[in-house]
Symmetry: C2
Subunit: 350 residues, 2 copies
DNA sequence: TTGAAAGCGCTAACAT
DNA sequence: ATGTTAGCGCTTTCAA
């Protein structure tokens, strides 16, 4: 209060028209001089709007999560929202409730749940949710009739990867899967199997890794033991594929001459593996962006008609040296991108 | 108000002792039934404490930042703080002011600034800071007499990497540097040069990349053009080293037989490059953790004695195939870790 | 064009 | 052991 009432100051800050230019100037001068910053906290209290989104994350150490977070922060920024971040352990369903409660206590206007689905962890969370909560969007998890979800078409991408191996003439096609109970891992394995079934080709050997390069490295011997004739391999992520490439090189196994390899993720680095990696690219950044848009859309509609949407994003195959384009139709094109079929559905309820 | 006053409810929620067991139970029952969640916003307002830290990040797409964020969220969680996240473009000094103002408006109790120093961007920020602001800790930037900083000993790590190349008998040692104006890139280059100076060895050729694998790939030819006799190379980060490895393989250049390569970062994947990569590991997770501790420490001391600390964290050399341990003293040990000298100083002012 | 009053949801201090 | 009063910093409503 340097001459005028708090009211007038409020009007100046919010750029209301009904302030005399003179008063406005003097108030602005004082604000600049004192370095005064209006309290968003107090504002939130009266508006009952925090302009903040809650984000629950797991496995920032895995490739992709950072990219998704990138998309989230960008889109949130663009929509004038802040991001309140909570990181949890990948499989820690126990501690999820306090995390959600923390976010609700801070009155976030929506929650983006970017935790990979392992077993039934998502169902567990959904079951434990407080009766009253802001809209929640689940990323990378199975569709639900009560919550919006945005998924990536893992099965479709896997199918496309496997089809590519078949097209290039491979017939003993194995799979290096992700860890047990991860839905993403299961979906990719399902897609691999479906593509083989479609083609009437007997499924090759399956081994399981834990997403790490080390586990990929270790898997090669196991797979070759199961089938020494192995000539194609669909690997559930790029990091494991890197390990495999390394192990193959050590054992003098030619990639792709002996075994063609397709990865999954779309690491930029894949282009510089030795040999460069054919892989399925996930639109992870887009996943984050859409998550933010969806949760804001849900938050801004009236309470009555709770709308729910389930989206599935398509992947894209990038062909490189580790599983080149078959020469029959055209010469191998490095980095050629082939979009998988997209699928998107919308479900309204109530 | 379901029988009692708001005051009593407050007491129950905060677990105060002076509530009769009977009242407590009935209040708890109502809370459970209604799914009531106390508003942290209102609490912040009255306490003038938000229990929230602001984090400004850039380049989440680069390796390492995710790891640092990991450390930050973990430590914040452990200290019962929330994290309000803002991501900016790497070199965007213009938009930093609104970001800081946003965080101050939300009354964060401290700010962790995890943006790599490019040119004088840090100085710019410091100059533009509002007169009154919560404590700010700058990560990975040069020391300051007015703000706490936590850095990584890039020069020391680079020195150690280069010394390792010298020890293994290399004499034409080049450097693939990071992009211009990045302090981290400059420090690493300085360390490389210093090690050569110490040994009285003429510096080899220098090329510049942009941290990406692609730029590493492209740099090999340039370096060989500058010096066809090149037999050792210190690369400013692991991703560029990956590209180099790939390019060398394509040209039939033996690593390490023709050229020994040492990277910088400590990507886990480096162990599975072909050949596996000798590299300098940065304690990035620790960087984030220490940042949080430091900013909380600064926030919780009285206004009067503003204390400032500047810390430098040591790196560690991991020896792998791309630049093995010289055979003269002992056989190459894969993954052998050698700690660099640490340096840490504390400065109090006022 | 400006100010006064009331209240957002909570807690500290005091009173009962 | 519980209630009352006041106020955190802002905005909305109404009055001047």
């Amino acid at each position: 209060m340097c001459g005028v009432s708090t009211q007038t100051v409020s009007r100046v800050i919010n750029g209301r028209p009904d302030v005399s230019p003179e008063t406005r100037r003097s108030v602005e001068a004082v604000i600049a001089a004192t370095g005064f910053q209006p309290s968003a906290v107090a504002r939130s209290l009266v508006h009952r709007r925090s302009q903040t989104l809650g984000v629950v994350l797991a496995g920032l150490r895995y490739f992709g999560v950072a990219q998704t977070l990138n998309g989230i922060t960008d889109e949130a920024q663009a929509s004038d929202y802040g991001v309140l971040l909570k990181e949890i352990d990948t499989d820690d369903t126990v501690n999820i409730v306090p995390v959600i409660e923390f976010l609700i206590a801070h009155r976030v206007e929506g929650i983006i749940f970017a935790v990979p689905q392992i077993g039934t962890n998502i169902a567990t969370v959904r079951a434990q949710l407080p009766t009253t909560s802001p809209p929640i969007v689940f990323l990378k998890s199975e569709a639900s009739s009560t919550f919006s979800t945005i998924a990536i078409d893992n099965a479709g991408g896997a199918r496309q990867a496997t089809a590519h191996l078949l097209t290039s003439g491979r017939r003993r096609i194995g799979h290096l899967a992700g860890p047990p109970r991860w839905k993403e891992a299961d979906d990719r394995q399902d897609g691999w199997r479906a593509a083989l079934d479609d083609a009437g080709v007997e499924p090759g050997p399956v081994a399981q890794g834990n997403w790490s390069s080390a586990s990929g490295s270790a898997a090669l011997d196991r797979l070759l033991e199961l089938d020494p004739e192995l000539d194609g391999l669909f690997v559930a992520n790029d990091q494991m594929a890197l390990g495999l490439l390394h192990a193959a090189h050590e054992r003098g196994i030619g990639i792709p001459s002996d075994i063609a390899i397709v990865g999954f993720d779309g690491l930029d680095e894949g282009a510089h593996f030795t040999p460069s990696l054919t892989t399925v690219v996930q639109p992870l950044r887009e996943l984050g962006e859409l998550g933010v848009r969806e949760v804001i859309a849900r938050a801004s509609e009236e309470q009555g008609k709770a709308m729910v949407r389930s989206l599935t994003l398509a992947t894209e195959l990038v062909v490189r040296e580790s599983a080149p384009q078959p020469a029959v139709t055209e010469p191998a094109v490095t980095g050629k991108r082939i979009a998988a079929t997209a699928s998107a559905e919308t479900v309204d309820i109530r």
